[in-house]
Amino acid sequence: MEAAERVCARIEVYGRVQAVGFRPCVYRLATELGIDGFVRNAGGHVVISASGCRQNLDEFVARLERTAPPHARIDRVDVTPDPSTHLGAGFAIAGSSVDHSAGTVTPDLATCQDCLRELWDLADRRYRYPFVNCTNCGPRATIMTSLPYDRSRTSMRGFWMCARCTTEYHDPGNRRFHAEPIACPDCGPQLAWDTARGEDALGAAIVAVADGGIVAVKGIGGYQLVCDATDDQAVRRLRRLKARQRKPFAVMTGSVAEARRLTPLTEPEATVLASAEAPIVLCAGTSARLAPSVAPDVAELGLFLPTSPLHHLLLAGLARPLVVTSGNVAGSPIVIDDLAATTELGPLVDGVLRHDRPIWSRCDDSVARVVSGRTTLLRRARGYAPDFLRLPCATTAPVLAVGAQLKHTTTLAVEDRAYLGPYLGDLENAETLAAFERGVARTLRLHQVSPEYCACDLHPQYLSTRFAERWPAGRRIPVQHHHAHVAATAAEHGVDGPFIGIAYDGLGLGEDGTFWGGEILLATFREHRRVGRFGLAPMPGGAAAIRRPARMALGYLYGAETRAEPLHAAEAAVLLDRLDPIEVRGIRSAVGKRLNCPVTSSAGRLFDAVSALLGVCDSASYEGEAPVLLEAAAAGHPDGKVLHWSLRRQEDLWVFDPVPTLRHLLQAAIDAPPGAVAARFHTTMTEVTVALAEQVASDSGVRTVCLGGGVFQNRRLLTQVLDGLREVGLHGLVSAQVPVNDGGISYGQAAVAAARLDRR
């Protein structure tokens, strides 16, 4: 048999292939198959120059995907013959190319099973070492200073690898081959607590928490505040310290088994909990084992597992569930700086457990929930951000999409990749605004991109819109808020062609200058047409009505747009008797004179009003509390009979008139508990939504329905609407990787901007 002919090829692999141990995998495969050449990181992808006999080369390409490491994701492999290249014998991992125009930042991953085994193995040299990691786990995005991802460009550059770590790092057969944050007790970061170091520091923190204290702990993406979740006094103190009245806290447990001891979990919930992304998972249920002040009055529990070896050590040492919440003061971004932790958090807590591996990029904990068997993100941050998502239409020029105002995120769009940054918070907070500006600068530096266009909201007073004014008018792409919401869902699902968008949320400025929020749109990525809406109501005092649902109820009572008989004071007697007559009189007068009473078609505000009308929530201590409590109240009532509702045609729009529904609701509430009526309201909103979708579908022939907006964080409503759409033969979609709330706006803006630029 004659010697097999050697062929050369250039193989380009696209996807999540950097910082996940992909190159070592390629190395091992090439060595096994006798392929010569080299592999290197280039831009956001990996380039392999390979030569070998045709059969082996084909097998090499075929096996690339199968042998890829667990956290890699291969989107595309391009193979081009490259006869010009002459490759020497053997295979090598080459240095990264300096072109990193489209570099990919890999998210931080929770400790893997192999590393955990070492953590608890008395004989291992990394026994109880809080910074154990490997190519399959550990910090990534938060320690990176620039691309490409090499140790010299991470916050590990200040730690000289010891001889043993160096050997592991350079051994292609080792699972720490090119694990950039590789470390061991001899050469890596160390814990500190006041003047104590190492195990003593850890021990001091454990004693402080065990004694009912609150401790600041340096986590992966920022400092966290930690206390015993079974100690009501400690949790109450934490609430005072954070100025956080009732918003539920998340609880960290050591394992899925321990989480199950708190509340029953479904299989998909257990899977997400144990995933490498390790988000906080909102699980239906409550737990009698936890302090009552952890999650008062709500029907869900936010649980998560340790996200780093340090958290494993803490949990093991304390053997009880812990409240773990972001280390910040009321609305400010999570603290990442050691000095700030000592000076700002230090005086408030019983100690600071810090270490000397700097955090370069802030990243809060992610929040997920399983709905109809699928994981959906409510907050996209650690573990997910800033991994990129696909855009259905590649952008012809780089676009920075600056999002909304609350739950703020930004998205950088380059070609068909959308780098959706981590959740930041409310931009009105000065520290958050500064973090947003710094984050943008960092992202652009990291990707070496200067965006030609900036996509923003229509709202002139969002501080993100103000930021966008740095671009000249011709380079700004304003995107209507609800178009962005539904485009985010459509883009994540790669919807092709027109779709029906149902956007239910708090507020977003519409093209007509009123505030939208209960909208049915007929849309493509480029444009949208409003085809349906909720009836209008005034928001007495604007933002004040949002903070106080009782005001919103008065808005519907005194000023709702309706073709039916307006509501009478007598019908809402329970509410009116409860409120201060001065407030009622003043609001009635302000509504009558339209004084600071912007009108809205918002579905979120209707949920607010219902929550107040049923006596569930008059004032909200956190955003969305009223609908959250309304859903919780309905939880004990699986079926709710539908209430009256009315849909009418008005000036080319389908308009849902909420007044007949509110009237029936108030009648029903006379002799039924609020929860039972709340359940009926959910059923009604489901029927209305499905009816609106059906009408628009039959008018337009479009069958795909994309849901978006914060109201769909309501699990009951979302599940019922998806079921209802399916029953009438419509294809209902909701985003999963992208939050349905305003955290998804920047991604939706990017998708719209890309589509608009496409035909310029």
């Binding site: 003061v329 105002q405 931009l427 007073q461 708090g506 005092g541 003043g586 302000a590 004084l595």
Partner: protein
Amino acid sequence: LGHGSGGRLMAELIDQVIATELGVTAPPEDAALVGIADLDLVFSTDGYVVTPRFFPGGDIGSLAVHGTVNDLAMRGARPLALSLAYLVEEGLPIEELRRVTRSVARAAAEVGVPVVTGDTKVVGRGAADGLYVTTTGLGVRLREAYPSAGSGQPGDVVLVSGPLGQHGMAVLDARAELGIDSGIISDSRPLHRLVAAMIEVGGAAVHSLRDPTRGGLASALNELAAASGVGVELVEQHLPVSAQVAAACELLGLDPLHVACEGCLVAFVAPEAADRVLTAMRALPEGEQARRVGVLTQGPVGRVLARTLIGSHRVVDMLVGEQLPRIC
């Protein structure tokens, strides 16, 4: 045009249309300096529109005098003379015009400045809304007075002369019949004596002065901060707001920082002179409630922050048109 509430839209309108067409670069000042020989004249003009024309604490006539006198004072001027122009809609009761004019005369006499010239035009019904008043003021700069919008320095102390939002809420209450017996009275009054007292003890250490009229303190501070190339850090609980204004703002969902004042000023004063200036202010009735509310910082340039009770900072933005809710 949707530029009625002052603030950023108005600033853009002036900047992009009016200043551009006039071919001038308009510094963000309340009044202009005009040098003649060794005399620094200060010159200012303003149109007044208010609904209702009579409100607790004043009317359109007194407002037109105080507003222009205060604009002169913000450049450190002693007022010398005023002009008065009326634009009257046909059908306005003569008695009302008489009442407004009497109020102009009383206000001018109290300031100690004569009305030396004027003009009256009557337009057809519907061509105007009742009565518009324009006043122009001429003053002379006090010696040692150099206040200018762009002169604030990092480290300067921010002083406010009196409670915020009185005028705006008095007018709103008069318009709305809120049914809350608010008892809020407009602070409309002249500030030239207060400024003279400040300059006397502070001199050139009084870097910037501004009367926060439309758009309120928030807009005034944003303009001054941008012009001076500094940041502003306020302490929220030090901001003077009367209980009645706070309650009315709460009811209407307004931020007192965005509500107009007509008898109150904000000053940037060098730290070493701040106590002296504050003491001099408090010695006069119009400065009795003066207080220190914050400091100027290196930046971010043009950004105004307020430290809240719980220790975080909120961004106090300039008002764009109406206050629009931003919460989703």
